[in-house]
């Protein structure tokens, strides 16, 4: 019995991934046309781990986050694959199962706190409501007290007073802290942050990233960070998944992928980012633009923009293959030797 390593046991529960997405396919049907938004995407996030999902507009990173949360917009649906949160399958699960996870075991922070908070309710009351939505035994007074404590923990000064403020009375950074407090209200095991610092000034972004880091450290939650900012990735993530046109181009540790990118798209992306520290090298543009999911190029979707593309790239979709090396990574490119 003890030799049977393949069999899952109860002791694995603490190290099993909190989020496991496998071969997820999401399609959009609009005006009689069909587009594959996510084309077989697999990711996993372990307890206490931060995984960043990066890519340009239309890569599908937000759709992936929404699919996990069971919040896909109308017209989009999951066609195949699996989404497991805390071991429970959410694809085709009854609504009440997904709802009980959402805001409890899994929580999400959006880019725009202004439109995610109700303008007519005090922020403390909104955090308290999030608590009572999942802890039906909590009294109103107890929930209100816990809300103030949560607001204090995300670094809101004079939390008792600010809890009585309406969202418009708070700055963008403070509103995003309220969103984090609300997301952390029920001790989620999975926290998804979708461009949570994109709308913030850079000094405020630094503060909010610190709050996110601290919230995760305090709870040991798994965190999935959706961003287009490679600096934010390097600042907060352990692993990174680079998406291009609905597929994963490259995935691995931050050191491997950002330190020594292997996929031509990752390389191009990094060369295009202006930096404070890169000597006098000018930014290098990637020619062309990301494709529409309605007109995804055949083969490797990046091939029309890729300098090393050949005939095979335009006909054969490259598989995402693990590469051996100093750092663990997987790359979907015909021109990256496997294994190195």
């Amino acid at each position: 019995m003890a030799d049977d390593a393949a069999a899952p046991s109860a002791s694995d529960a603490s190290t099993a991934p909190v989020l496991a997405v496998t071969d997820l396919v999401v399609t959009l049907r609009a005006r009689g046309r069909t587009a594959t938004i996510l084309d077989g995407v697999s990711i996993s996030v372990d307890p206490g781990e931060t995984v960043a999902l990066v890519g340009e507009s239309g890569a599908g990173k937000t759709v992936l986050a929404l699919a996990v949360m069971g919040l896909l917009p109308g017209g989009m649906g999951i066609d195949a694959g699996s989404v497991r949160v805390g071991g429970d399958e959410l694809v085709d699960a009854p609504d009440e199962v997904v709802r009980s996870k959402r805001g409890g075991e899994m929580a999400m922070i959006f880019q725009d706190p202004q439109s995610s908070l109700h303008p007519a309710f005090r922020v403390g009351a909104q955090v308290a409501e999030a608590i009572r939505a999942h802890d039906t035994h909590a009294s109103k007074a107890a929930a209100a007290a816990r809300a103030v404590e949560l607001l204090r923990r995300v670094g809101i000064p004079q939390a008792e007073t600010r809890a009585r403020d309406y969202p418009h009375q708070l700055s963008g950074g403070m509103r995003q802290r309220v969103m984090i407090a609300m997301a952390m209200a029920n001790g989620p095991r999975l926290l998804i942050a979708d461009e949570a610092t994109t709308a913030l000034d850079v000094t405020v972004q630094a503060q909010v990233l610190d709050v996110l880091r601290a919230a995760q450290a305090a709870t040991g939650a798994a965190m999935l960070v959706v961003t287009h900012d490679l600096g934010v990735v390097a600042s907060i993530a352990d692993r990174v998944v680079v998406m291009y046109s609905g597929r994963i181009a490259e995935a691995g540790t931050v050191d491997a992928v950002l330190g020594a990118p292997a996929h031509p798209y990752t390389q191009g992306l990094l060369a295009a980012v202006p930096r404070l520290t890169s000597g006098d090298a000018p930014v290098q543009a990637i020619a062309g633009q990301p494709p529409s999911p309605f007109a995804r190029p055949s083969g490797c979707a990046f091939h029309p923009r890729c300098a090393s593309a050949d005939d095979r790239c335009s006909t054969e979709v490259p598989a995402l293959l693990a590469r051996s090396g100093a750092e663990a990574r997987a790359v979907a490119c015909h021109h990256v030797d496997a294994p190195r």
Binding site: M174, A234, L276, P290
Partner: protein, 350 residues
Amino acid sequence: MSVEPVSTAATPLVAVEGLVKHFPVQGDAYGRGDRDQVVHAVDGVSFSIAPGETLALVGESGCGKSTVARLALRLLDPTAGTIRFDGTDISRLKPRDLRVLRRRAQIVFQDPFSSFDPRRRVGDSVAEPLVAQGRKREVATRVPELLDLVGLEAGAATRYPHEFSGGQRQRLAIARALSVQPDIVVLDEPVSALDVSIQAQVLTLLADLRARFGLAYLFISHDLAVVRTVADRVAVMHLGHIVETGPTAAVFADPVHPYTRALLSAVPDPDPRVERTRERIVLAGEPPSPIDPPSGCRFRTRCALAVDACAAEDPVLTDRGGGHLVACPVALAASPARPAPTPPPAPTAS
């Protein structure tokens, strides 16, 4: 690689002196609220731009950088101060006398989605400044040239804005700005709405056009890394003031003002090795209100270096050598000027 110090140029293209813009506070939807209050959007800003030079105004939201851009083009009227364009004081000119300025200075806005009329063919929009200048006859030849210049096909002229991506629309906005062969283009967050690979394309295009036509740019941005790649000189704004300005290389390699230092230290770097060892200065608290800014130095409430004198005196921009000016006597005293790599320009006798 060093760019000639631009202050040696005879007449600056744009020279702004003591610029002030206060906006009245509107009160709430019912007209309540203190109507005597003003937002101190811009409070005594001075700078100049030489022909062919790129000056970047950088700062966080609400620092007044976009207001300065609009004042420089007289799209807003200043509360006080003077704006000279090629030696002529334009700060009090009547709208109809601004026609020459409108030809010589153009603007490109951040949002490529709202700066084009959705019901007009983009060729007509690109030609609009030409038509406004009474040069309708040139339209047929210039529009294809302009589209080619910004890397679009001539056939694009007959299409509508929704048929273009964000990056292509920003190219169209640049083509429109260049239609009247301006001397300077004000670029207000021109790449902020674009994906990083597209952003690099537009930055490359702007650099090419500048080299080709000797254009001057006033580049407004919140993105310090972008500014570093495009600007000859940079001015860091904080709550309506310029707190530090100088050659880009000097300001980025050796920032002196505590706000500039905090701002630079807040930018995360994509290289994980750099990111791990980066010095970080995290500012405490919230930025003060521009309606009721702190007395003296407006940064002092969040500044680690603040002393009593900071509340009493408005710090003035002081040259620490090589045209690198800093408005912080405390930081300047602690940070003596390094020997300048090139001798500072001789003051021109006027």
